[in-house]
Amino acid sequence: MLSRRGLVLSSAAIAAASATPAAASTKELRFRLVEDPEMLWSGQSVSLTVNTVVGTYLVERLVYQGTDGKPQPWLAESWTFSDDAKQITFRLRGGIKFHDGTDCDAAAVKFHFDSILDPARASPVRPIIAALESVDALDPLTVRFNFSRPFAPFMTIVAGGAYGINSPAALQRLGRQYGRRPVGTGPYRFVSWAPGSEIVLERNPTFRQLRADAVNKGAPYADRITLSVIPEEGVAFSALQTRELSAAELQTDTVERLARDRNFRVVVDENAKNLSFLEFAFRPPFDDPRMREAVSLALDRASIVRAAYAGYAVAVRGPMSPGIPGYDEAVAQQFGTGHDPARARAILAELGWTGTGRGPVSKDGREARFALRSYANPVADRALAVIQRNLADIGIQVAITTSDWGSFYPSLLRDGWDMNFMRWTSFDPFVLVQLFRHPGHRRALPRFDGLDEALAGIETTLDPDRRQVFVSEAQKLLLQNRAIVPLMTNHNVTVVQAGLQNYVPDAFNLVKPGDLRMANWA
């Protein structure tokens, strides 16, 4: 699955425990939500906030992804692939019940996916698993997924929050209102939702933890979890200090101060799966890979990381986030570029771009002035400030235009830009296929020899080892051709009260709320 989201809007924060003294008898945890979810129905939303809240607390998936990138049993205890790789059959565990007491069986799984496939519902989740054709419940505990073509990323996608199983009975009973009162099998069940203010959840007393990576296999520790909607960064920062929050995902700007405070602990998601990079429209002069290389060499990634994320990010040379299983560091080191403005200037000079040392360089009377587009976001602004400065240092002037995603992304299909600044989050190497299969997601990518073949391999090869060959090959080709300029992967940062235990993000940056407890709880 591929998703991208500005940082400010990103992420329901998840996190840990405050024990307000008065509430010592109730074990309650309070976490921050950066924005109010649009609804709490994972089958009807592609919003990261929605799927994080629903996926963390309310529903469970067939599988989860281990830190090694391999799918692990959850609601499904095992699965098999058909020979033509067009069918996947899951064997469910028995005896799992939804919060409303109904059974979570093969019919429920089929119902959930059917509701996504149902054209009348026009689920926005549907296009992400476009290759899925139908789902059959073979028996109460066996469910088979049928695809139109081999679809390797499915095991990663189905581990994502959007594919947790909802109660068919509740869905049928509540209809369109279901999104306000979700029912799943997760460790917490829905109590109330004051829109814009808070969502209250309570412990699912019959909960049984099926994930192997969880600490607590029984009922969750906390009686109650409250998710407070706090869009303003400063407010969240203050609420942590007044212990009104047990934990909060924060922009990295304010983290530094709390990192020095012994009352808090900073949890950094090292598995971050996003990548910020520059893309090209491949219009002259950027149809020449050496021109693109000059740009890549000009950029001081360490400085960008500091400016944009106060250091809570890593500079990346490869065309995929290091957090995605399959990232090939060797390829990145061999074919990527570092920061070498002198070489960048030399390349420009070789290409005929010369200048006086002040102002832009020029070639054949054309000055090196280009248009750089980006989505609007304070963090992106800062990265762009450094990028603009770095490029100016080698004599390339870029004018920056930022706009909200809804304007920015479609605008890339039209002319008028030379470079854009992108940030994507994805859990699977399939992202390379989606972005870079000819003609590319913005219809501007030239055909690079061998790239589409490698990308086809990524899409259709279910065997992990054979698939890795294609992944590495695609990364190498992208770097060799300077198709993009990779910049960095930032880490989501959550500040938790020091007493909050077991706050460990999994491969998808989701915590297991059943594990969470304050140190002082009995």
Binding site: M1, L2, S3, R4, R5, D36, E38, M39, W41, Q44, S45, V46, P119, A120, A122, P124, R126, P127, I128, A130, A131, R176, Q177, G179, R180, A194, P195, G196, S197, E198, S228, V229, I230, P231, E232, G234, V235, S238, A239, T242, E244, L245, D404, W405, G406, S407, Y409, P410, S411, W424, V433, Q434, L435, R437, H441
Partner: protein, 311 residues
């Protein structure tokens, strides 16, 4: 008078139609739709894109804008504000509580604004050119020079963080406190200036001099003869302000996370969720127009001089 009111109501119709048409013309030229906006680029492969057509078809987004307008008018006529592409539920549901929230915020803010502004303005006018006048007007001047979002942040800092009078993360009614205070103090500034200048002008009128000449005490002159007229003057501006605020004080709502119409408007546009946008326009323009109407009618009712045969 009945005719006048009927005529005022008739004038509302072209305004509302104009507003809706304007919205749809905007829709015709905007380069993206709710589906594109929703995915924030999550769909990239060609086969998947074909399936988003389903969503477009369900919400008629695949039709030309004027057909969509037709659908919209038909639905509104049936009392149906449509379904939000993004929220996947009836727009009326979302608008309903949002509108109430904005109404509460607006009413509290105006109550604070009037409660502070009118007495301050009247005292300033009655004690014109004294230190009280200068102080009130200086504070008012500072008030109208303060950017709302800056002021809002300062209030959070002062009340929630330093003084800790209110919780940083307020719940329920307490959540109204800071946004209402911010907005109220900002509104108080122009109201006080208006009250002052209205009062000063009123105190200069012939009938005030006549009242003094017949031995009315200064308090009676102000309260009985000058205040009603002044308030009537303020009423128009406060009413307009009320109408505007019902369209959402979006900055304040965004800063304080107040789930009102304004905050929703920002999102609805970013989402390109037109059913939602139109409903917002409908209710806020409707409120604006209705409040103007109410004021005009109130005017006729309070001020016997208003010649209601003319618009």
């Amino acid at each position: 008078m009945g005719g006048y009111i009927a005529r005022r109501i008739l004038l509302v119709i072209p305004v509302v139609i104009g507003i809706l048409l304007l919205t749809f013309m905007v829709r015709a030229v905007i380069p993206t739709d709710a589906v594109t906006a929703m995915y924030e680029g999550q769909i990239t492969d060609q086969e998947a894109e074909a399936t988003t057509a389903l969503i477009r078809a369900k919400f008629h987004l695949d039709r030309p804008w004027y057909i969509q307008f037709g659908y919209y008018v038909r639905d509104v006529a049936r009392g149906d504000l449509g379904e939000s592409v993004r929220l996947r539920r009836p727009v009326s549901e979302e608008i309903g509580y949002r509108y109430l929230n904005t109404l509460w915020l607006t009413l509290s803010a105006l109550a604070i604004g009037i409660g502070i502004g009118v007495p301050a303005g009247i005292i300033a006018a009655a004690r014109k050119d004294t230190w009280m006048d200068v102080t009130a007007m200086t504070v008012g001047l500072l008030g109208i020079s303060m950017p709302a979002f800056f002021f809002g942040l300062l209030l959070i800092l002062v009340f929630a963080v330093w003084l800790q009078i209110v919780p940083v993360v307020p719940r329920g009614g307490a959540a109204l406190l800071l946004p209402a205070l911010t907005l109220g103090l900002i509104e108080a500034a122009p109201i006080s200036r208006l009250a002052r200048s209205g009062m000063i002008e009123m105190l200069r009128r012939d009938h005030i001099r006549a009242a003094r000449a017949r031995g009315m005490s200064e308090a009676a002159v102000i309260m009985r003869h000058a205040l009603p007229g002044t308030l009537l003057g303020i009423l128009t501006v406060v009413g307009l302000q009320f109408g505007q605020l019902l369209g959402g004080a979006f900055i304040i709502e965004v800063i304080f996370g107040w789930r009102g119409i304004g905050e929703l408007a920002v999102k609805a546009i970013q989402w390109r969720d037109f059913a939602l946008t139109q409903a917002i326009i409908l209710v806020s323009a409707g409120s604006y127009v209705a409040i103007n109407l109410a004021i005009d009618i109130l005017y006729v009712w309070i001020d016997p001089r208003v010649d209601y045969t003319r618009a």
